[in-house]
Amino acid sequence: MSEVSYRRIARDGFWDNNPALAQLLGLCPLLAVSGTIVNAVSLGLATTLVLIGSNVTVSLIRNAVPKEIRIPVFVLVIAAFVTIVELLMHAYLYDLYKILGIFVPLIVTNCAIIGRAEAFASKQRVDRALLDGLTMGLGFTCALVVLGTLREFIGFGTLFANTHLVLGEWARELTLTPFPDYRGFLLAVLPPGAFIGLGLLIALKNVIDRRLEQRRAALPAATAAPVTES
């Protein structure tokens, strides 16, 4: 298999093959915890940690594991990392752990993680697996945060509510209420709002992709210079 460039990996994770917007993986936690920015960032980062851990481990052991048992081994690795992250959150971020609740252990069922282990990390060197885990995780986090921002703003009319659960008491003041009279919009808070929001984000991504495509098609005709595209 030819070496994948770092740039390609990063582009895939953040945009071209974004777990949430292109692969449509991990939608259950995505839809359930994207109600506020703080929840979105926290679950996103927890997922990223697990993704990095599992990708690196899977890549390290890729030559030692016979293909018959690779799936159970991957599952074991992922479950172990999720449990470790869960224990750490329970110990050090107690209030946040209470809010995210079942969705922390449920990271184990996020198909994006085993998907990356199987499709990428089990065939690539450690450095690339690490970068893939990082960018896929952050790509997932970004999608969650955009959705979280939209839902929190439209649903509750606030931004950065509950930040003190992660950063400590001083962060209470970070909560913004741009329009004090805004009464909130229930639909955005409820699960249908999450689906609609995600649908709009995916549509937006497709529109942007198409624009880029058109521009790229128009470009070679206009300029004689060779286009370097990775």
């Binding site: 109600g35 030692a64 594991v65 016979p66 018959e68 048992i69 159970p72 081994v73 074991l76 690795v77 479950a79 172990a80 449990t83 470790i84 224990l87 750490l88 329970h90 110990a91 050090y92 107690y94 209030d95 209470k98 649903g155 509750f156 509950n162 909130g184 229930l186 808070v189 409820l190």
Partner: protein
């Protein structure tokens, strides 16, 4: 060899299981203390919201009484009552009450009652009410729940322990009546439980409420 082809994956898988288990055991051992500490802190913080630190001298978390499952409290297992003392006398007690008939299942409450039978404060511990409507029972979302502070079975009198819509004294929430109705009932029942077991609950010597069915 057929056998060899089978054995290698087997012991490899076993090895991975052992390593993963070891890693988990290690993490568990090293976070156990901290988790217990976080849980105690969270509970203490919540109790202190209801019974301010300035009003008692003892450690609420160690001065406890066991309360068996009780219909008035809506509990199905033994729960713990936390008692606040000043000058040796128990001035207030906080215990768990469950409103079984919320809009989306049971709502767990922590109810604190003062020696004279007045509500010191109530907090929602867990619930599954509709976000944006029923979740206004959380103190973080609206001050509604503090409307019970200082109330007792005589203020208002028992027939007025209902939401306004049902002819009582308590506000309902915009767009949610079932949730407040369930909580008003649960708190009234808690006060009745307190009245019934007052002597045991406030007796400095006892550590369990005797099981009796009413």
């Amino acid at each position: 060899m057929m056998l060899r082809a089978l054995l290698r994956p087997t012991w490899l898988l076993g090895l991975f299981a052992v390593v993963a288990t070891g890693l988990l055991a290690f993490t568990y051992e090293n976070t156990r203390e901290q988790i217990a500490q976080s849980e105690r802190n969270a509970l203490l913080r919540r109790l202190n919201e209801l019974i301010p630190e300035a009003q008692h001298e003892n450690d609420l978390l160690t001065d406890t009484i066991e309360i068996p499952a009780n219909d008035l409290l809506g509990t199905t297992a033994t729960t713990t009552g936390y008692r606040a003392r000043r000058a040796g006398r128990i001035e207030a007690i906080a215990f768990t009450a469950v409103a079984p008939d919320g809009y989306n299942g049971a709502i767990r409450l922590l109810v604190a009652i003062e020696r004279d039978g007045r509500v010191a404060g109530v907090r929602v511990v867990s619930h599954r009410e509709t976000p944006g409507l029923g979740d206004a029972i959380e103190i973080e979302r609206s001050p509604w729940i503090s409307g019970f502070d200082g109330r007792s079975l005589s203020a208002p009198n028992p027939t007025r322990w209902r939401v306004r819509k049902d002819g009582g004294d308590f506000e309902q929430l915009t767009g949610a009546t079932i949730t407040p109705r369930a909580i008003v009932k649960a708190i009234k029942n808690s006060l009745q439980f307190f009245a019934m077991h007052r002597d045991t609950l406030l007796n400095t010597g006892t550590t369990t409420v005797s099981q009796n069915h009413e």
